[in-house]
Symmetry: C2
Subunit: 335 residues, 2 copies
DNA sequence: CTGTTAGCGCTTTCAT
DNA sequence: ATGAAAGCGCTAACAG
């Protein structure tokens, strides 16, 4: 079984008895080919198992590929994956394919990874910024490559962005707790340094301030060490002399930890998580939910819009969140 | 802000006062360039914001890109994206990037999608087969493109494959139930037509046969209609005059349904799921678990091995499963 | 260590 | 409707 080489346009042309340009026309669907010739070309192509070489095509066409890059920090996070699914779906509608690259959550590798993708001449760049600075993309943006920042805004770069309604969503959750009488409300967040968590924290504080609670530091458990389990953070809140009657979590990780600690607690502690999760319904956990795939779809759409109209203004889009009441957030404070 | 064009090797060469081949050498890291020249080239490249054009490079090098394709049916399935994460991680180690394409679980689009990827000259093809027949890939395989079938074997194609220990894993789970006295054991599976489910069903029957239970049809709930909820399947088992004392689920979907129905049931029904899931520990659900990312890593490794040694034999690898005892699988039968 | 020439497979441009 | 020639940006194969 020898490894034979691939058939080219010229091979097909020779076999079909036409010029390679004619074969090109058939495969580029450029019209202007008689039905007869077309038929012959297709037969020849099939016999030779011809597949057009997109590298050559893209090169000749000025480096325009049909791939779009999505750069993620950590692929194992289900959140990012749903975003990726949304992106892929939207791109597929326009015949584009997604190339996925990860930076292993390392700010240093972001530019390197992006560079490699640019060398591959991706048509647009969607990324979840990890580094502190995306100004290195300015040149590329000026060359006409749409850049869309996903889940957090890019820094030092004028780019489209799509983020969640972090602040409002969390504020709404906390308001629903204050509305039923809670005042001592804990907030757990880890890692707390990132944009989304800072925004959600702001929403938490905002809602508490509205009911006159200004001193919230004692209720906040903001950690950045991944080794500190959310269970510990929750427990430390419960161990306070004046322990909270309700707890909110800044992310899924926190919710999982809270669920483990809070179930079967007597007197029950109210809880609302940010991010929906499997079985949250069965467990009766109230959450701030949103359409993760829509985040991806919107990001892709922004990129495609920019491709269609390079002069379009940059946009900052917020994906709405909604509070889902399932019981845990409706637990009243004691007395 | 005019859209200027990209700098090329030749532009850099002109500015640096060298030949383009020298610039090429600098960027291809081919050595044989004096430190001085190298420095000048890099300066010029930086000034012009030069990024090598990988399309041209790959074309010239004989169509060898540094991308590997992973073809999935449905990206929203968390299982697949953990596989993708494993693949991506393994590829990144060798400087390869993953392009992800989906077929929307439509067998008809599989060949079309794969064709497009081949046109992009991906270096290897990893796929979760959806169609009934992958013989269309035979030509490509003969041209030297490694093809690895993931999670199920390919049909009518001699390709590497990586699958889970489906049969053994499920048999082990059922054996652990029969060992503590269960004989009436339900099996729910939806969709049941696919390879993994058929294998797990076989493992279930095998383990029951070992203890003399041959008539299992009454305990099997094999559905293919996604509109039939696993909850209904579980309920229909419980409604039997001689209802099962234990239930096993063929997949995650079934587990979620079973958990919803079985919690708070009095007399409790034993349960073991296939696939681990978030909070399964908190809920005390016993499962057959496995390393999903390892599935991906192994698939990528197989492809890379074949790239390194095109003559290597095709391999069929099974990723081991392990039974995790968390309580729900240790519930004894009544009396 | 550096340069010249040719050409990867395709499409653009201009003929016919 | 079809074809010939040129060239996209890069590197292989040779020089020197």
């Amino acid at each position: 079984m020898t490894t034979q080489s691939r058939a080219t346009l010229a091979d097909v042309a020779r076999l079909a008895g036409v010029s390679s340009k004619t074969v090109s026309r058939v495969f580029a669907e450029a019209g202007n080919v008689s039905a007869d010739t077309r038929e012959q070309v297709l037969v020849a192509a099939k016999r030779l198992r011809f597949r057009p070489n997109n590298l050559a095509r893209s090169l000749r066409r000025g480096g325009v590929t049909n791939t779009v890059a999505f750069v993620i920090g950590d692929l194992t996070n289900p959140f990012y994956f749903h975003v990726a699914a949304g992106i892929e779906r939207e791109l597929a509608l326009r015949g584009l394919t997604m190339v996925l690259a990860t930076t292993d959550d390392s700010p240093d590798s972001e530019e390197r990874v992006v560079d490699a993708l640019i060398s591959q001449r991706v048509r647009a760049l969607l990324l979840i910024p990890i580094a502190d600075d995306q100004s290195y993309l300015e040149g590329e943006r000026q060359l006409g490559t749409p850049v869309v920042s996903v889940d957090r805004p890019a820094r030092n770069l004028l780019a489209d962005s799509v983020v969640l309604q972090n602040r409002l969503g969390m504020a709404e959750a906390v308001r629903s707790l204050t509305a039923i009488g809670h005042r001592k409300i804990g907030f757990i967040s880890n890692p707390s340094a990132m944009y989304t968590q800072r925004e959600r924290l702001a929403g938490y504080r905002e809602a508490l301030r509205e009911v006159g609670v200004v001193e919230t530091a004692q209720w906040e458990r903001l950690d950045d060490d991944p080794d500190i389990s959310p269970e510990l953070a929750v427990q430390s809140l419960l161990d306070l002399p004046d322990s909270p009657t309700a707890i909110v979590a800044g992310n899924n990780r926190g919710s999982a930890g809270a669920v483990r600690v809070l179930r079967n607690l007597k007197p029950p502690v109210a809880f609302i998580g940010f991010d929906d999760f499997e079985l949250a319904d069965a467990l009766g956990i109230s959450v701030v939910a949103y359409d993760t795939m829509e985040l991806g779809r919107t990001a892709a759409r922004l990129a495609l819009d920019h491709l269609a109209d390079p002069g379009a203004f940059t946009q900052q889009i917020e994906i709405p969140t909604r509070l889902i009441h399932r019981g845990s957030g409706e637990i009243l404070p004691p007395r």
